[in-house]
Amino acid sequence: MTTVAMLAILVVPAAMAAVLVVFRVRLRRAAGWCAGAASLLTVVASFVLLGDLNLGHEPVLVASWVPSESIVLGLHLDWISFPFLLTETIVTLVAIVYAWGYHHTDERSPLFYALLLVFGIGMSGTTLADDMVLFYTFWELMLVASAVLILVWGDAPPGGPSRRAVTLKYFIITHLGSLMVLIGLLTIYNAVGTDTFSALRAGHGLPFELIPMVTVFFLIGFSVKMAVFPLHIWLPDAHTVAPMPVTIMLAAAMLSMGTYGILRFPFSLFTREQLGGFAVPLMIVGIVSEIYGALMALAEEDTKRVVAYSSVSQMGYILFGLGTLTQAGIAGATLQVIYHAIVKALLFMVVGLVVHGTGRRRLGELGGLGKLMPVTAVCGAIGTLAIAGTPPLCLFDSEWMIFTGGFASGHTVLAAVAVLGSLLTVAYALWFYGRIFFGQVPEGLHAHRGPWALLTPTVLLATLAVVEGIFPAPVFVWVSKQVALLLGGMP
């Protein structure tokens, strides 16, 4: 049952994507529903797997691939991957539901939904992979699928770079990161002699002098995916140009894959002592990213770009949390990944509702929408307050833990700077919200209510942001089980 559920997460969407491609003419109208059903099944399967994990079963699947090079393919789920798997499947489902209302149905719709599913497979495959080949293959699948989605269905704002230029930039820069990861993987592969992670868990046998090199490659490679400063340059354009459901998946789910990579490789392979030298650089880069993202978000006029830069800032918090190398910091960073997924998806949905309802996307042309779109305004308020770290909303909990970790790590000055830097987050969040929903309604601005397919997931996520903030316990338990596996065992 366990392995069936694990396979289902990959096979069901893949089969559905194939069906959508083959019967694209007949399934034109039903494509969204079909994709949603497949995606719902993956969420159900994730919860089935949660039950197994709670019972102490870790599902495993292994198959030999290139015997002469001892390359093995494997799938495996443990507590490190579970929070990411769940986040990713839920975000995919939410994005597909949102697409029902956002995506204009035409003859290419089945391909659109099929690619959303493939994008989702890329991410769930990355979390489930238990060997380097599958990990890298799914890692690249996620890039290829999202690049095609941006290229074909992207919506480049006038005056900016074209879809094609944005896609190429996105692909090349993130592929550069992937190659860094590949180098790290292959170095370990050469040292261990096989590519399974199970062999790594038993002890990697990496020569001592290679550990810093491998760590550097992994950290740079995964930071590109995380889009922390200064490796974020692909993000604002890609997130702005991508169609909204894809933006939701990029921002809420794909960025977290970078964190997953850091936890999966350097953090679970090496001990705290071996990584000690990286703590301060990671924290500094995190702080710079936090502040830079917030400043850029303050300066941007395009609503989508504001939210996109806020991701750079949020990833800064996460990297800072990881850099503390403390239990609280890492748990906080993982919680931040999950909560950021909820809140970032929520904010993009709100922006989507605003753009959909008014046909405008620049802050200067918006205003006073609080009266015209009350439900959106409430959801937006929850989203912006959450991102600003206001209690009792969810991101408050994770930021609390990250900063606790910062002070516990002994780098008090850095922690203090990080805390003060979060003021800028408050600034851009409130400024952003105020310019859209408060003030006078500009002349000629008409807003119509969003369709239920857009409103329902938005309201759901807003509710989740509140509920998670008040009752963080279940998610917190999963994350603490994960942290116990990292850095050679946490004290």
């Binding site: 030999s64 691939w65 290139v66 015997p67 002469s68 090079e69 390359i71 080949v133 890298y136 293959t137 690249e140 699948l141 290829v144 690049a147 290229l151 074909v152 094609r164 896609t167 190429l168 692909f171 090349i172 592929h175 550069l176 190659l179 590949l182 180098i183 292959l186 170095t187 592969y189 050469n190």
Partner: protein, 492 residues
């Protein structure tokens, strides 16, 4: 059951005899393109069967600790052929590719004339190639290399009504002849010094003339293998030749001369480490120039031609690292890349050929609308280009995985520097592969006629086969690696 020496010359005899027979058929019986294509593919299939039998015997001989089957010519001349592992792998790839290309030509050359010479020339080209990689002496090597080159010159200039083709063929002829002449001079100098023509020279202390001769031989073969800066003939030749010919030449011809280069270098007692060092150094301009110039091409086939130079660079670097640091698996990985390239690059050229045949696409921009016109070709072209870009799960990625893995085993700063260049180049290459992929699916400018074309079975079958191989080598590279390892390509 033929065994031993007879079997060694069997593939060559089949190819040469077939060339003659098909010319006669074309001359005396019928010059119908389809008939000649079928006959040529039958000849290739027979040669492939002979090669496979030979491979089995060579493997059995290796397993039994015996020398590989060999054929020696007239007594005392030292001339001969031997079924060595590396040569067999290259020859098998070449004949299999010839089979695909000859079927493809059944439709591709339908509108051309003078098919009765094209097919024999194609067979002669492969015959020259097979002979070259199996030769055990320098003179046979030279002769077969020249046979391959001369047929290649003619095939490049085959569409002689276009000035550009003739110009490209002429340029290829001049530079190629300079290369083969240098080889001949080298052969003569070595013979003068040692009195032997065997590739496996046992010179304990080579004199100055033997050294110069060896250098000349390697330089000549380097020209034929398009080592930068002697690559200038390649983009013109591959860009102007018919796509079927470009596929053959780019897929395996320069790889075969590269194999001959390795054979000669190692056979003449060149220390492997020095040869590897030389390759590592020479590979860098290949990668940089190949990718850099591919980036600025608007002509699809020229772009693919420059990308071949770049791929040659990756192979050279990997093999170089293997020789320099004594990692036999790296050499095997280099051969895997050659095999993968021999599936994906011809696939790209042949797909381009279909586009050219149907709606005259030459520039990359003219590939717009391929998806709307011929969906199958668009998909297969995508497979080829994405595989060349090294994206999983295709052959190019498996090749990248193996070569990077092996390169990283040599822990040396020079390897890391080369690796950085290699990686920068693979990233650079995305910038010209991916836009072409995007163009395939872009709607053509308004006003263009968009007639749906069914891809003829003559073309669809070989394209599909190459596509399946490109996918199969990526999804399931194990058997291919095992085949190469069993053949012992790392040992020559």
């Amino acid at each position: 059951m033929i065994t031993g020496p007879d079997l060694v010359i069997a593939p060559l005899a089949i190819l040469l005899g077939g060339a003659f027979a098909i010319y006669l058929v074309g001359r005396l019986v019928t010059a119908r393109n389809e008939v000649l294509a079928v006959l040529t593919s039958v000849v290739f299939a027979l040669a492939l069967a002979a090669l496979m039998t030979l491979t089995r015997q060579a493997l059995a001989a290796r397993a039994g600790g015996l020398p590989e089957p060999a054929w020696t010519g007239s007594e005392g001349a030292g001339a001969g052929l031997q079924a060595r592992g590396g040569g067999l792998s290259i020859a098998t790839i070449a004949v299999a590719l010839g089979l695909c290309v000859s079927i493809y030509c059944g439709r591709y050359l339908a509108l051309d004339r003078r098919q009765k010479v094209t097919y024999p020339l194609l067979l002669l080209l492969v015959a020259g190639l097979v002979g070259m990689v199996m030769a055990t002496d320098l003179f046979s090597l030279y002769l077969f290399c020249e046979l391959m080159s001369v047929t290649a010159y003619v095939l490049v200039a085959f569409r002689r009504h276009t000035d550009t083709a003739v110009e490209a063929g002429f340029k290829y002829l001049i530079l190629g002849s300079a290369g083969t002449l240098t080889m001949l001079m080298g052969t003569a100098l070595i013979y003068r010094e040692t009195g032997s023509l065997a590739i496996e020279q046992t010179i304990s202390a080579p004199g100055p003339w033997a050294r110069i001769g060896l250098a000349a031989l390697l330089a000549g073969l380097g020209v034929k293998s398009a080592f930068v800066p002697a690559h200038t003939w390649l983009p013109d030749a591959y860009g102007r030749a018919p796509s079927s010919v470009s596929a053959m030449l780019s897929g395996i011809a320069i790889e075969s001369t590269f194999y001959a280069w390795l054979r000669v270098g190692l056979g003449a007692g060149f220390p492997a480490a020095q040869l590897g060092m030389l390759l590592m150094v020479v590979s860098v301009p290949n990668m940089v120039v190949g990718n850099g110039l591919a980036l600025v091409q608007r002509h699809t086939k020229r772009m693919l031609a420059y990308s071949t130079i770049a791929h040659m660079g990756y192979t050279m670097f990997t093999v170089g690292v293997g020789l320099r640091f004594g990692i036999p698996d790296a050499v095997t990985a280099g051969f895997f890349l050659i095999a993968a390239h021999a599936a994906m690059k011809p696939l790209a050229f042949l797909c381009k050929g279909v586009c050219h045949l149907h709606y005259g696409a030459t520039l990359t921009g003219e590939l717009r609308g391929t998806w709307q016109r011929t969906p199958l070709v668009a998909v297969l072209f995508t497979v080829a280009l994405v595989s060349l870009a090294g994206i999983p799960p295709l052959a190019g990625f498996a090749g990248k995985w193996f070569i990077l893995g092996q390169i990283l085993r040599a822990r040396h700063w020079m390897v890391y520097a080369g690796l950085a260049i290699l990686l920068a180049n693979t990233v650079l290459s995305l910038a010209y592969y991916l836009p072409v992929v995007a163009l395939l699916y872009t709607a053509p400018p308004p006003g263009t006629e968009l007639d749906q074309r069914r891809t003829s079975g003559w073309m669809a079958v070989p394209l599909g086969a190459l596509g399946i191989i490109a996918l199969g080598m990526g999804l399931w590279p194990g058997p291919w690696m095992q085949w190469l390892a069993a053949l012992g390509v790392a040992g020559g």
